[in-house]
């Protein structure tokens, strides 16, 4: 069942502020002057076709890539001006859920979840680590998988564990890269509900990268659409698709075939 989504957004507090960002790979210009703000408590959905630079955008936010031009301000810090240690510290406040889940194959689920905790909060005792692991597993509804290997899990379970691994550090911002890609419709609903639950329970602000309109409709407080390297449309779900733009309309029609 699709659960109702409610957010408490503070429009005076920008947790992410991106201004005039350009990014190219060789001769391929991906982002051409992107401006974007994420407000505290908001779920922002970034829509766009494959290869339009949606994932590049969140990699820029987390400092995995650096912009060619422009500024990226995250939680008051300018990402491209931070040194390695400062960036590492900032990343603890940003959760990144990868499209491929990116679970460590050679580790059990417990070890996967402990990994960021053990390395970043070295003062924690064994009992406290165990408690944190059990709590996040319970939050994603997969307590029974604690001693399993990632290869033993389904795609949806892997996504959930990937989200749990980011939650263990209790981030302020969540970045979801195609959270429902490759999943069946029922599992997609579960993941969408989980994104909303995470926002409610952990008070996160989130950017959700997707081309799944059901996901966008379920989780998004605001939707922006990346077209030709720029955000050309933004608003709620109905506002975004209230257009005859040939680049936007097929997107809607394909997702909601009567």
């Amino acid at each position: 069942m699709i659960k109702q989504h409610t957010s408490t957004i503070d429009y005076n507090d920008k947790v992410i502020d991106i201004h005039d960002v350009y990014k190219s790979f060789g001769t391929l210009e991906v982002l051409k002057g992107v401006d974007l703000q994420l407000f505290k408590g908001e779920n922002l959905v970034v829509l766009g076709r494959s290869g339009t630079g949606k994932s590049v955008l969140i990699k820029l936010i987390s400092g995995l890539l650096m912009p060619d031009q422009g500024t990226i301000n995250v939680l008051g810090e300018q990402v491209d001006e931070l040194d390695v240690k400062e960036l590492q510290k900032l990343r603890l406040r940003i959760g990144f859920s990868f499209q491929s889940s990116a679970l460590y194959d050679s580790m059990t689920i417990r070890e996967n979840l402990e990994f960021p905790l053990v390395r970043n909060k070295r003062h924690l005792k064994r009992a406290e680590i165990d408690e944190s692991v059990e709590n996040v597993l319970e939050a994603v509804g997969l307590s029974q998988t604690i001693n399993q290997m990632p290869s033993e899990l389904s795609g949806g379970q892997r996504k959930r564990i990937g989200i749990a691994r980011t939650l263990i550090l209790q981030p302020d911002i969540m970045l979801y890269d195609e959270p429902t890609a490759g999943l069946d419709p029922i599992t997609c609903i579960d993941i969408n509900n989980l994104i909303n639950e995470v926002q409610q329970q952990y008070k996160t602000s989130s950017i959700i990268i997707t081309h799944d309109l059901a996901c966008a409709k379920t989780v998004g407080d605001r939707i922006v659409m990346l077209l030709d390297g720029r955000f050309e449309r933004q608003g709620n779900f109905d506002e975004i698709f209230d257009t005859d733009d040939a680049r936007v309309k097929p997107f809607h029609d394909y997702n909601f075939i009567d």
Partner: protein
């Protein structure tokens, strides 16, 4: 076209130099990943033992067998232990162990890091506030640098045992007199050189495997290429290093 290739080669060399530089910088920077280093030592050392045992033994046994006829012509089979000792300790043990390890360990490291790169596991480490270079690269290079010398000494011992079995079968030489002859033929410099060159070989195998895996191109083809190039490049460098070390040692002996 040719100019482009040369340019690309120099860029690659600069990247490798930066990678090696980063390794030494991270090596002395806390926190240290002791648990992962021990796990990698187990992977590199313990899991290579069966293969190293087999190749070491076969090399010693076969080399002894093949050397006998030449010495027999001069009635000098009593020199066999000395010949085997010099051949195994000065050349065969370090070289064979390094080549076998380049194939087994180097390709394993290249493929493992390559697939971690492809499936975004390295990025996942980075965004979770962990230094993936320290966790993945430093631990593996330390493990190969420590374990390959140990494997080399072990391989030399097993090779000498193989030689002994062959000699014992044919010449009825006793265990004690065989090993007396073996150690009489080599000096400290030989043992030191064996250890030194296997440290260099171990470092080469680790750093090349990690470099190839860490910088593999995306996709399954990239993983295969990373594994393949880890072996090819390690073997090439091992031969070059062997050549240089032999020249230096010749100089020291004179």
């Amino acid at each position: 076209m040719a100019l482009d290739k040369i340019k690309r080669m120099f860029i690659e060399l600069a990247n490798i130099a930066r990678f090696v530089g980063r390794f030494f910088k991270e090596l002395f920077n806390p926190p240290f990943e002791f648990k992962e280093i021990i796990r990698q030592c187990y992977e590199v050392g313990w899991k290579s033992l069966p293969l190293i045992s087999l190749t070491g033994f076969v090399v010693g046994f076969v080399f002894t067998n093949q050397s006998r006829p030449s010495l027999q012509e001069f009635g000098a089979t009593s020199w066999l232990p000395a010949l085997i000792s010099i051949a195994i300790i000065r050349a065969l043990a370090p070289l064979v162990t390094a080549l076998i390890s380049a194939g087994k360990v180097g390709s394993n490291i290249g493929a493992e890091l390559g697939s971690m790169n492809v499936t975004e596991q390295i990025d996942a480490m980075e965004v979770s506030g962990t230094n993936p270079f320290k966790f993945l690269v430093v631990s593996r290079v330390i493990a190969t640098t420590f374990m390959i010398p140990i494997l080399t000494f072990y391989s030399a011992f097993v090779g000498l045992l193989g030689g002994f079995l062959n000699i014992n079968q044919n010449e009825n030489t006793s265990f004690l007199s065989y090993f007396y002859e073996v150690f009489d033929a080599v000096d400290f410099l030989d043992l030191f050189a064996m250890g030194f060159r296997s440290i260099i070989f171990g470092f080469t195998i680790g750093i090349v495997g990690c470099y190839q895996g860490y910088h593999s191109s995306k996709g399954t083809e990239g993983v295969g290429r990373a594994a393949n190039w880890s072996v090819v490049m390690s073997m090439f460098l091992i031969f070059v290093e062997e050549l240089l070390i032999v020249q230096i040692l010749q100089g020291l002996r004179v």
